[in-house]
Amino acid sequence: MIFTPGAGLRKNRVDWALFFAAMLLLAIGTIAVFSSVAVLPQQARIIRVQLIAIPIALAVLAAAWSLNYQIYQDQWKFVYGFILLILAGVLLFGVVDKGARSWYRLPFFSIQPSEFARVGLILVLANFLDKRIGKIRELPTVLGAFALCVPVFLLLIKQPDFSAILITFPVALIMLFAAGASVFHLSIIVGYGVISGLFPVLWSIISLNPELLDNPLVGYFFHLSDSWGSASLFVAAVTFGLWLLWRLSVQLYANVTGVYFAGAALVLILGFFSGVLVKNQMKDYQQKRLEVFLSPETDPRGAGYNLLQARIAIGSGGIFGRGIFSGTQSRLGFVPERHTDFILAVVGEEMGFWGMALVTGLYALLLRRIMQGARLARDRFGYLVNCGIFGMFLVYFCMNFGMLLGLTPVAGVPLPLVSYGGSNLVATLMAIGIAESVYARRYALV
């Protein structure tokens, strides 16, 4: 070991499996990144950033490891204030890259604050849920947890960084679930989230395909957000419709309480208003980004093409791969975003099935160890923090693998530790460090 993880810790207080899984993934990722950028014009910059980011990330890992994680609970207000500050700051001082104002430009590299905000939000949520654990089955607790997320989401929408929201929202859900929240309440939240995302998406799709407006219902729906009048009409219609349904269920002696109908109406109406908010909040270029993000066919080259090329790259690797630095698909540029979101295509092409199986296995081990840390944590806060970190890795893992293997829709989500990305690497190792800290400070020695 090149550093001492905190004073007074015995060796069995270190989760070696977690640590080595993370380091091995980082090694595989670094090789793949170097291979994939070999022919890119930004090659020098990317290698330099990676080489700077790795020591910084290791230092942050060591720091987070040695620090007692309980300090985050004590100082949660500072943590929360800090993430809001960096997210707000980036809107003022950040630079625009690929249509999003998400970066602090520093002399040698850039920092993406949303990566750190995600880890910070996990800590803040863990504290909130820990404090409210007695009332966890009440709706206000669940809403309160999301109320904590809302400012963060609003600031992310402003950038806009939709993929950060796409990652963070499920993480919050997983934490609530792990804390024991009511599944009914969670589905209300999921419904709300889906609807507030769905409305702007539907409007975008309609504006992309004007021929849909020929249908009068679609036209009416499209103009819902235009004025308060039509909006209140929508609210009235939803309320009345669900009231009718409730009365109907009463008439039919169906054993459903009115709460469910009220909840459904509330979710629809609130979802509608936040959808309108999201839509009005977006500038033209943001709208465009959302369209590309959600309907990738609008991308001139076509996300279908990109995905196909990535799949060809993975498939062509076969069992043993085509050799490191020898993949033609990625090196000749057929695979897009090959050093970030599509890094697995490089791994699959050059290292083959064994490489991919190794990455999958290491991720499974990583998740297993973080979960074990949660089980053994000395307090509920530690448990919830580890659950959040577990959720974060799980969501990344599922979305990145799923996208590449054609099992989930295309979303620009990297694979932590493997993909290129300095801020992401530092934030990820920070999360690993916190998980190690939770493990190290457990009571039982299992």
């Binding site: 792990a178 069992i319 099935f353 296995g361």
Partner: protein
């Protein structure tokens, strides 16, 4: 473990979810990489390589005396690789410099280069470069990087239209060809392939393996490097059974005939090997290989005479059918060959009077006389005696109504005329029909190929071989891919006395009868003339013959048809004579007889395109 008021069940559920996802991904990877690995690897390779195909030389086609009928010659193409960053003025300058020596339109050339540059794909700027501009282009090649000259092989037929109906021609792929071959790696959209005749039938052997320059390109099609330059493998050579001199004699004879239309088929009666195969009108297959600019001098809009008279032309056989009638008469036993009939120049069938071709009549005629002078009246009477069904039976035995089995497409089978056909149609058979049948008129139809098979069967004692024209195929590595062997299709069983009488009759046709124009010193010719009436115009002239030398088994049987040639004796027989003379030249030479000499192939004609 401390109490956290939280059930561990939920944690387990999340854990199961994570592992289910991992297993699902692994299964998908097994499917993608282990099962689909080879498939995707192929796609990946195709992704990154672009091939400039270099057409391999097609196999050569030789006559049996090793005269090359189809060969290949090198052809140079100018290509442009858009790998090098080019500004528009540079391209304009290059196009201007290239347009002058190529004699091409500057605008079009410039557009081609722009297109190639924007798609970043290599393009052929010109094909079949004439040698005189090569030097100028080589200099430009050094000035403008990206421009290169590649060598390819191009089909060339040295004697032009010679044997064109058998050899066929090659051409560019059409959509149907492409549908059939798009999965074949040896073909690309712009490769040429056999479209007719031998070129089509033996496409697989003749094609060879194309060479190519394999280029590595990146995702934007930008050229990275040359991966490899693969040498072509020439196609297999085909050696025909065709005798070049006999073929030349046949073509020349047909061309010089009254109408210049017709067909000659000469077979070896011992094997069925085709010695000459001519069909007029013909075409120059070189026409299809020319590139755009070379075609300019040629007459445009000329319809290709693809109709193969020898195989696809069905004609009434006329008197050559009397060979079949003779077989029926003699085999029936109802007419002793010595029995004489009186020919006054006509035959009264009761309801109608049938004429003999000789108006003044032949007088008293026996079998030999009847065949020798082609006396219609003799065959009217004797044929009636033998019976129409009997004649029809022998027509079938002589393979009328059946294809010969030659490996060429769209062969016609002629038509068998007879009572059974009428019975099948529930119609009547009249005496007049029998009379017409006996002299080969009526509804009987025969192709020149069938006529040749008929006379060959007389020569060899009744055997019908499958006619073949490919003797052997030799691959470019010297290995023999195919050696054709004679194949018997069927046999006519006739009494020896019948064969002897028919042969005697055919011999006297040439010695003192209608076929004297076919007489050759030093060889015995057995022949039969035919003059087939046809409602469309002048009579068709037929002549079928075979020859023996020194009483050895006959080596050649020939059928000649001159469309609207009027008289078999004058129009068709001399062509048969010339073909036989050419085919037997070595035997005749051994006997110190100087042939009157057909010309060498090609000497009477423009040999191919002047390139």
């Amino acid at each position: 473990m401390i109490d956290r008021q939280i059930s561990q069940g939920r944690l387990d559920l999340l854990w199961v979810l994570a592992y289910a996802a991992a297993i699902l991904f692994l299964l998908r990877l097994v499917n993608l990489q282990l099962i689909g690995g080879a498939h995707y690897l192929e796609i990946a390779e195709k992704n990154r390589t672009q091939i400039i195909a270099q057409a391999a030389p097609r196999g050569r086609i030789f006559s049996s005396d090793e005269t090359a009928i189809a060969t290949s010659k090198p052809s140079f193409s100018l290509i442009y690789f858009p790998g090098h960053a080019k500004t528009n003025p540079e391209i304009d300058r290059m196009a201007k410099a290239l347009a002058r020596p190529l004699g091409a339109d500057y605008e079009e050339l410039r557009r081609n280069i722009y297109k190639a540059a924007s798609r970043e794909k290599p393009v052929r700027l010109a094909e079949n470069l004439p040698p005189k501009i090569m030097l100028a282009l080589s200099e430009l090649k050094a000035v403008y990087p990206g421009v290169d000259i590649i060598v390819e092989a191009r089909r060339y037929y040295p004697f032009g239209a010679y044997l064109s109906h058998l050899v066929g021609y090659i051409g560019k792929m059409d959509t149907r060809d492409w549908a059939a071959r798009s999965r074949d790696k040896n073909y690309s959209m712009d490769s040429r392939l056999g479209k007719a005749g031998l070129e089509k039938m033996y496409e697989r052997e003749l094609k060879g393996k194309d060479g190519g320059i394999y280029l590595e390109v990146d995702s934007r099609g930008k050229l990275n490097r040359v991966l490899e330059s693969r040498k072509w493998v020439p196609g297999a050579d085909i050696f025909l059974t065709i005798d070049s001199k006999a073929q030349a004699a046949a073509e020349e004879g047909l061309q010089k005939s009254a109408t210049g239309k017709g067909a000659v088929v000469a077979l070896d009666p011992r094997t069925g090997a085709i010695i000459a195969f001519a069909s007029m009108p013909d075409y120059d297959p070189n026409m299809f290989v020319l590139s755009g600019s070379e075609k300019e001098g040629l007459p445009a809009g000329k319809i290709l005479p693809e109709f193969n008279v020898a195989l696809q032309g069905s004609y009434p056989p006329g008197s050559i059918y009397k060979i079949i009638t003779s077989a029926a008469i003699l085999e029936s036993g109802r007419v002793p060959p010595s029995e004489k009939f009186h020919c006054p120049g006509y035959y009264d069938a009761g309801s109608r009077v049938f004429k003999c071709w000789q108006k003044k009549g032949h007088g008293q005629v026996d079998f030999i006389n009847g065949l020798s002078n082609s006396c219609d009246v003799y065959f009217y009477i004797a044929g009636q005696r033998a019976g129409a069904l009997n004649i029809e039976k022998y027509a079938r035995a002589f393979r009328l109504g059946q294809t010969s089995g030659i490996a060429l497409p769209e062969e016609k089978q002629g038509n068998v005329f007879g009572p059974s056909g009428r019975a099948a149609k529930k119609s009547y058979w009249f005496i007049g029909d029998t009379l017409n049948l006996a002299i080969g008129q009526g509804e009987t139809l025969m192709t020149p190929m069938q006529a040749a098979a008929e006379i060959a069967a007389v020569a060899n004692g009744g055997i019908f071989h499958r006619p073949y024209y490919v003797d052997r195929i030799v691959r470019s590595d010297g290995q023999q891919a195919l050696q054709n062997k004679p194949e018997t299709m069927s046999r006519v069983q006739l009494k020896d006395s019948t064969w002897a009488l028919i042969r005697e009759g055919l011999r006297s046709v040439v010695l003192e009868g209608t076929g004297q124009a076919a007489k050759i010193q030093g060889a015995e010719i057995y022949g039969k003339t035919g003059t087939a009436q046809n409602p469309q115009g002048k009579d068709h002239a037929w002549f079928v013959a075979y020859a023996t030398v020194n009483n050895e088994p006959s080596k050649i049987a020939v059928a000649v048809l001159v469309e609207h040639g009027e008289h078999g004796a004058s129009a068709a027989a001399p062509i048969a004579k010339a073909v036989i003379e050419a085919a037997l030249r070595s035997d005749l030479k051994a006997k110190n007889i100087k042939p009157e000499g057909p010309l060498l192939p090609g000497t009477t004609r423009q040999a191919g395109a002047n390139l």
